[in-house]
Amino acid sequence: MGAIDVKTVEDWQAASPWQIYHDQETGASLPVPPGWEGLLYPEVRIALRQPGSGPGFRPNVTLTVERPPKELSELPDYSQALLQAMALTLTDLTVISIDQYERWGVEGRRVLSAYRSGIYALALEQYWFLKDDLVTSMSGTCAVEQHDELAETFEYIVAGTGLASRLPDE
């Protein structure tokens, strides 16, 4: 997972040894960690999961695309609304960090948080980018204990993520 020194995401994807999954309906794309399997989730454009058969939480990555309403069309407003919604739906949500994050000239956010799901303590690393009134979000979820190991994988994935250019019905 070495750094790839290129100027566009298309060049990055061409240079990466990982396979690239393309969502034809939105134009979004995502590098796939070797061996990870694709899943079908409602309202998620791309879902990948680390393989494994033992007990424990299996890390996963999802990509979603949405067009926020006009009142949330600025990144700070969108981020605040999303975090409020997450606090309502995720048990004991604890936000660790919110950082500005720019990739390929597009402004985004990186948000690290943790929450409880049944017996699991989970880390959730999210990146979202706003371009042409569309938000493309990449979320990596894993057990808290796994996060330091997987953070580089999540960052590598987001480095090679192609942003959506449309919604499926457009």
């Binding site: 004991d92 960090s97 943790a114 303590a121």
Partner: protein, 256 residues
């Protein structure tokens, strides 16, 4: 907080819990309020014996995989948070948090001199959640972070921690100096079963709305390096991964 259990205890209450699966106390032998709290939390039965819910916590406290502790210097006193992390559960012992809120002034923090409370909260939780609990207790969360490392006289900083009226030293950002300040030392030790104990430490200066700083105390000047919350989190996780036997005898967590 949806912990597996949480209860306010004194040291006597903790001793009662620790003895409960070997030599249980009777209610008339101990502080009845502490006894009733342990029963109410589902950790002891009415005869003072440990219930199954308490077993993973007792195992974690006796033979932890790792111990995590934060010693916070707040004004003229201190607070200590600690966790015994076991295979199945973690047990956190936490006094009231020291996290700086937006309404707390620099003068209030510097003048803080309440002795550590007699009671603390015992919380039983999944092992990984202890790291989250540590962050919440120490105030490791979203905040603006100044980007440039700086140095300042160590003795002046020590005075400033107890007196917000200490004049800002030359070359130090006045806004940073005016923020509420406290310092904490995070240590991670391998558990009791480790033959070659290693210790990881991280000394952090919290300067409120201007960020967190990894602190290397030397004389006459100390160096402070920006330490965003995201990095603190990962440093803690990395040190926990390195805590099992065979780790370094003692080291500071590498910043940056």
């Amino acid at each position: 907080m949806s912990d597996n259990a949480q209860v306010r205890l004194t040291d006597a209450g903790l001793r009662m819990l620790m003895a409960a699966d070997q030599d249980p106390y009777q209610r008339n032998e101990v502080d009845p309020e502490q006894f009733d709290r342990l029963v109410g939390a589902g950790l002891l039965d009415e005869r003072g014996r440990a219930l199954p819910k308490a077993q993973p916590a007792l195992e974690a406290m006796r033979e932890p995989v790792a111990r995590l502790a934060i010693e916070a210097a707040v004004g003229r006193t201190g607070r200590r948070w600690s966790a015994a992390i076991g295979e199945a559960q973690a047990v956190v012992l936490a006094p009231p948090a020291v996290a700086l809120g937006p309404d707390v002034s620099a003068a209030e923090v510097a003048a803080f001199d309440e002795p550590p409370p007699e009671e603390f909260e015992l919380r039983i939780m999944p092992p990984g959640w202890a790291v989250v609990d540590a962050c919440a207790w120490a105030g490791i969360g979203p905040r603006l972070q100044r980007a440039d490392p700086f140095t300042l006289p160590t003795d002046v900083l020590r005075c400033r921690l107890e007196d917000a009226g200490v004049p800002v030293p030359d070359g130090i950002d006045p806004e940073l100096w005016a923020e509420p300040m406290l310092m904490w030392d995070l240590t991670i030790d391998p558990g009791e079963s480790t033959e070659q104990p290693g210790r990881h430490g991280l000394l952090v200066l919290d300067t409120g709305a201007t960020g967190l700083w990894a602190f290397t105390a030397t004389q006459p000047e100390s160096r402070l390096v920006p330490l965003p919350s995201y990095e603190v989190w990962r440093l803690i996780l990395r040190a926990l991964r390195q805590a099992p036997p065979g780790g370094p005898e003692e080291s500071h967590l590498r910043v940056g």
